[in-house]
Assembly symmetry: C2
Homo-oligomer: 75 residues x 2
């Protein structure tokens, strides 16, 4: 894939990071897994342990700051 995917859960830390990432990185899809819960499994499969996180085009996961653990999001 050639785009990055930014996963977040709508928390303040996530929103702040999203703002920065969208300014810095091109071709980013933004996914709110707090709302689009069907994409939680996809995020976990990508290796995401906490949000916000950015999955790079080559599949690496960059966990950014710390908003919420996946366990918190899954609830």
């Amino acid at each position: 894939m050639s785009k990055s995917i930014f996963y977040h859960a709508g928390c303040p830390v996530c929103v702040s990071a999203e703002h920065d990432i969208l300014n810095l990185v091109k071709d980013v899809e933004v996914v709110n897994i707090g709302e689009d819960r069907f994409r939680i499994a996809e995020a976990q499969k990508a290796g995401i342990q906490s949000v916000p996180a950015l999955v790079t085009p080559n599949g690496n996961v960059l966990h950014i700051n710390f908003g919420a653990s996946m366990a918190d999001v899954i609830g």
Copy 2:
């Protein structure tokens, strides 16, 4: 400022994140505070608590994954 600054300490987590960041973000200055120790104070003043971390052009700090705490770097 218009560029971002990526601070790291040369650890494997840092090197991997650096590779990703340089691919995704334009105009990034890379600083190895493990080598350029006189820049540790600058990193701390920017709000960096662990490396690797990216300081955005507007001064926000994005802590990325987790390589080492500043306490570990300072030794």
